[in-house]
Point group: C3
Chain length 256, copies 3
């Protein structure tokens, strides 16, 4: 039986069906869509979301296509780590995912000499799905049996943003917002000191572990389900309340 293949992309409503069709036609029995609504051609936000979602997935070939350089010189890269494989353009998008799966392990990197694709503009269909199908068919542990795999390249790495942390404040970047309006920062929850409140954009805001601990409509700073510091409003829109968007840098300060 073939391995599970998961699909993630910024392709929106139409193109993913072609990728899925390619996989099913090649005999892959279990195809799971993770999301096809990643922010278009945004490698950093995509890497953030996928590094949070893929560690909850079963062992699988994870095919990730966020590929602003499609048709250019960037390579196809394959990471193998923790029993998973990641197939993606070598533009950094898969690296934080590989790191999130790695723990103490070190991801292995492979390239894939694929046949010239049908198009120069839709490698999700013409390159990445066929490569994912080939790996799922031989099995992730048998990757080396594919004659066209080599392992000599150095992958493009990508670091997600990190905060600038001082004694009584930190400067943190908004790395993503979600559909509820919560603004997710690049600060790991462990880096926030144990204080009851902080100052954000001139407002004194409680630091608390759940939205419902403040009144409906009131702001809070919390550590969200991704382990990052978030700016939120209970049953409201944190990004609007704090007037922030992805890429903005916010100063959070405290007494101490």
């Amino acid at each position: 039986m073939s391995s599970i293949v998961t699909l993630s992309s910024d392709f929106g409503p139409y193109y993913p069906a072609a990728m899925r069709g390619v996989l099913v036609r090649r005999g892959i029995e279990h195809v799971m869509d993770l999301t096809h609504e990643l922010p278009a051609q945004d490698i950093i936000q995509s890497a953030f979301w996928l590094s949070k979602l893929i560690p909850y997935q079963p062992r699988a070939v994870h095919c990730i296509v966020v590929d602003p350089g499609v048709g250019g010189t960037r390579s196809v890269i394959i990471f193998r780590v923790g029993g998973h494989a990641i197939v993606c353009p070598d533009n950094g998008v898969g690296w934080p995912v590989a790191e999130a799966l790695a723990g103490e392990e070190r991801p292995e990197a492979f390239t894939f000499e694929h046949v010239p694709p049908e198009s120069h503009t839709f490698h999700g269909r013409d390159v990445f799905a066929p490569v994912a199908a080939a790996i799922a068919t031989v099995g992730i542990g048998q990757l080396e049996r594919l004659p066209t795999v080599e392992s000599t390249m150095v992958p493009t790495t990508l670091s997600l943003p990190t905060p600038d942390i001082g004694k009584n404040h930190l400067e943190t970047e908004i790395i993503a917002t979600d559909g509820f309006g919560t603004a997710i920062t690049d600060t790991p929850g462990s880096r926030l000191p144990a204080v009851d409140s902080v100052e954000v954009a001139g407002q004194r805001v409680p630091v608390i572990d759940r939205y419902g601990a403040v009144e409906v409509g009131a702001p809070l700073v919390t550590v969200g389900s991704h382990g990052h510091v978030e700016l939120a409003v209970n049953q409201g829109d944190g990004a609007t309340h704090f007037d922030v968007d992805v890429g903005d840098v916010v100063r959070i300060s405290w007494n101490g």
Copy 2:
């Protein structure tokens, strides 16, 4: 073989993948997404849509997460009815669904003593998906075998809005709109008298059983596929035509 699990939420494009991953990793073979685009944190609209969609589903564990009170004191509740199980926050969202599945039967209600979750903000991933997986694994009919299930609580009920019906008119609330712009009211089709036309917002409009019975672009009142009275425009947008939105109350009157 495990039961089917269906997933419904207001989570949008990213978070559902984590729930699905949790289920597949726990051996659930058949996971079906119903929708993850329920109106954010809107219990009434979500209950409306799900009470219309879930009666068409196969017997399954239906995991519903519309949960504005996540991390607060609300419980997890499980309804069992008609061979289905519903797992959801005890905020009323599952009650109209249970009623829709019940017919003459009375839904059974259970609670679930779950382990403390990893997060206080994403119980879909950390509480509801694991509970749904546990039920699907033992089987819906074997719910009582789960040691942590108790059956002492009184569930939160929720009534969808109902119209105020007089002799020659009714006052009805717009309970939902769909992607075609049709405005769905809280009036059951059976409560509309057998008249050829009604007056809505100062307009005389035909009452008719199909959109195509009026000209393209013309308004009508019909009983839609959900069994509710709808304000529609043939191949057009009823909500815009009648200038109504969810929550508005509309007067419909007739001669007689």
Copy 3:
């Protein structure tokens, strides 16, 4: 084992779940969503996208519901071609798909005498899904065994727009735009002469086979993954750059 059933519609976030439920309850084991975000009630754009996506699918019963005439007099039609079946309203939407699957073959057309549906407004759930399930159950090659199938009708055909091509220019219609902003024309790539650049809307633009051959933010004309001439911007939005939308006619001219 039943055939695969694929689902495509303009139904948006809620209604597809009812169709899928109907199929699974009738024992269909493999249901694949292609897209439910087709442009609402737009037969031409829907036919365009599906004629590009369905040739990449496995042999299946393809159930297509873009149905502005629901509840009117239009029939249900079934095409059989290349081992696939297409089930759709007889409004033309399935015809370009059948042609795309046909190659040298000629599609067979069938009608289906269905039982009166539960609603006049949701035939996706009440007519098309049951018909697709019946075909998937007997097998596409055994269509004639369904007692209610006849084959006497002449299907509604639909031609996608075609360009008006002169010696040194062509007039081409924008047939679709995608989520990246690329404007896809009705001109087959084979009809564009071998020139290095063309004039579009007063701009001299290179003709080139991949986005990355021009600078980020620069415009180009290319033949996309669908085989059509496209107006694009490398990592940008072609429709905005050229100020075009679906239905606009654009003049492309060249020296020669």
